[in-house]
Amino acid sequence: MKPQQRQLLYAGLAVMLVIIWLFYSANGPQTTAVLAGTVRAATLLALGAMCGMIGERSGVVNIGIEGQFLLSAFAAFTIASMTGSLFMGTLAGIGMGLMMGWMLAAMAVGLKVDQIIAGTVLNIAALGLTSFFYDRSRSLGMGKYTNIDLGPLADIPLVGTVFFSRPPLTYLTMALLFVVHIALFRSVWGMRTRAIGEHPGAADTVGIDVLRLRYLNVTLAGGLAGLGGSYLALEAVGTFSRAMSGGRGFLALAVMIFGRRTPFGAYAAALFFGFTTALQNQFQLNNTFDIPPQFVGMLPFVVTIIVVALSGLVGSMRDPAALGQNYEKG
């Protein structure tokens, strides 16, 4: 980031904090509700964005995150409902995510199917399978994950409720931001991952097994999307319904691009997108403004289009050089 950009960022943050403070003093409960909703919506997007990021850093586009969310949410819900354990359900969701990541890798890396088509296959398969096996009579007898207060931190006004009185998977996601950041930018694995995404030929020359690492990364990244599915079914909603991922797997891709394929950048973008979602829900609840809900509902998608268009214009948001290209050992 250039110094001017950094200054701009800090200025923006300061302005935002002032606005939030003003709103909070005007209407406390409502501001808290919107910001809590922001974090809730951002968690899923951040997980999806991290999944996409690890794939893209390795040179594999993952457009199947939507399907990974959906099928993992289904697995998490079904297993949690069968075993009566949210923890088992979460594990099942992660497992299903890993399996779908492996499927994507098998197609895109192993069979050299066009990466976009491979992801589309996942999306359509997930929608079909979950609709076919969906059992309406199932429910979570024990309810969904509940909030855990992080000791005295939870008592801080506003910030405490928004960040430190959350259910477990939200905390796990926040921790994963640090893990993925360190792994990507401070570890040998991360260096190799970025190398195979930028110049697989060169990476190959120095002895990195490009295809194997891509296989591994896309599979592992699937686990993050799987956690996202678990979060969706067991923490955010508490049930499963048809097509419940509702396009957020695609939004996660925009979040990833907007966040420059870095975990914290993606989280900031996710908070922004989450904010538009939370605002929309709040509008619908109390009819503050006379805007039809459909137009508020369009907002995140219109914003995404603008972001993607701008990211094409702004040269600094550069794709990994070998993104989308299947690697053929020369």
């Binding site: 359509i124 691009i257 459909q294 137009f295 990211s311 094409g312 990994p320 989308g324």
Partner: protein, 356 residues
């Protein structure tokens, strides 16, 4: 049949067989009989004149949707926006269909179709123009436009264009006038004939015109096309506009020929099936017709299958996904058939989100 045609047909055909076989395993897992289920499926789609009509009606938007994907494919672009384009076409065709009365059919019906087509062309062209001018990847943009179109058509059918007859509370438009209704000739809906004509036109344009040559050049190698003087940006924008128009016509035919109105939520998912159709047809405009007929038949027979064999109709979606998988990863089938590897058969779309 020449050898090359045989090779082209073999993979989709085997993919369908494999999809049905795995589907049979799923049916068994639900304690039902695959033979009963598949018999019911075929009878439900071909058994009598009504069944044939249903199949052709189901196949119609699939042909349009398949063409919408295949046409963009030829220029190297992936149009996942069929859903939104279809909705936009459906709502604007219905809008003109019910909003104007007193016109003779020869004017009103083409006008309603045209309204849908133009709206769809703008919707699709938007994604193409953004791609050409900013490099925004059409996959992301068209997916986002799907959601925007969903919201926009919801709003239109729930507010300004709402059906206020009786005590209707559903988000839907009034019924279209008779003069804007697409007729049926026996068991053949006229909309289906339009779809077949559109497929033939697409083939002619792509294979026999200069414009089609330019489109295919851009699809094969964008840089080479640029160097040879083809206006790549214009080709990308216009191809997406044509694609949007095609998908929108599918929606318009649904509104004017099948549903008789636009109703929010009725056509959900229909636009995505075009992807399966186009891949099954290996992006060949003429191949789209048999592919759509096949899937249309399964959809027409699905409810009979549920009734007779107790199999959830969503099985059809699973089978479609399987077929798509086998077509997209032909290596498995080639291994089964002991076919030689031929890279020209692999569908390739290319890279990243930003630059072209």
């Amino acid at each position: 049949m020449s050898r090359s045609i045989l090779r082209t047909v073999a993979i989709p055909l085997v993919a369908v067989v494999l999809g049905l076989l795995i589907g049979a395993v799923l049916i068994l897992s639900q304690n039902a009989s695959p033979s009963t289920a598949y018999t019911a499926l075929v009878v439900g789609g071909l058994g009598d004149a009504d069944a044939v009509l249903r199949t052709l009606q189901k196949a119609t938007p699939l042909i349009f949707g398949g063409l919408a994907v295949a046409f963009a494919f030829k220029a190297g672009m992936f149009n996942i926006g069929g859903q939104g384009q279809l909705l936009i076409g459906a709502v604007f065709a219905a809008g003109v269909g019910f909003g104007i009365d007193g016109l003779p059919m020869v004017v009103h019906l083409p006008l309603a179709l045209l309204a849908g087509a133009v709206a769809g062309a703008i919707w699709g062209g938007l994604a193409g123009t953004l791609k050409a001018t900013t490099g925004a990847h059409e996959v992301i943009v068209t997916i986002m436009l799907n959601f925007v179109a969903g919201n926009l058509t919801d709003w239109l059918s729930a507010n300004p264009w709402k059906d206020n007859s009786g005590n209707n509370i559903v988000a839907r438009t009034p019924l279209v006038e008779d003069s804007a209704t697409i007729p049926t000739l026996g068991a053949v809906p006229v909309g289906f004939l339009l779809a077949v004509a559109a497929a033939a036109t697409c083939w002619l344009v792509l294979e026999r015109t200069t414009y089609g040559f330019e489109v295919r050049s851009v699809g094969h190698n964008r840089n080479a096309a640029q160097y040879s003087g083809i206006r790549v940006g214009w080709i990308m924008a216009s191809t997406m506009a044509v694609a949007g128009m095609l998908a929108a016509l599918g929606g318009a035919v649904e509104s004017l020929g099948v549903d008789g109105r636009f109703e929010a939520g009725v056509n959900v998912g229909l636009g995505f099936e075009g992807i399966t159709i186009a891949l099954l047809a290996r992006a060949n405009p003429l191949g789209v017709i048999p592919a759509a007929l096949l899937v249309g038949l399964m959809e027409a027979g699905a409810s009979r299958m549920q009734f007779k064999a107790g199999v959830a109709p969503e099985l059809i979606d699973v089978i479609q996904a399987l077929i798509l998988f086998f077509v997209a990863a032909p290596i498995i089938i080639r291994w089964l058939l002991r076919m030689r590897h031929d890279t020209s058969e692999q569908l390739q779309l290319g890279a990243g989100w930003g630059k072209s």
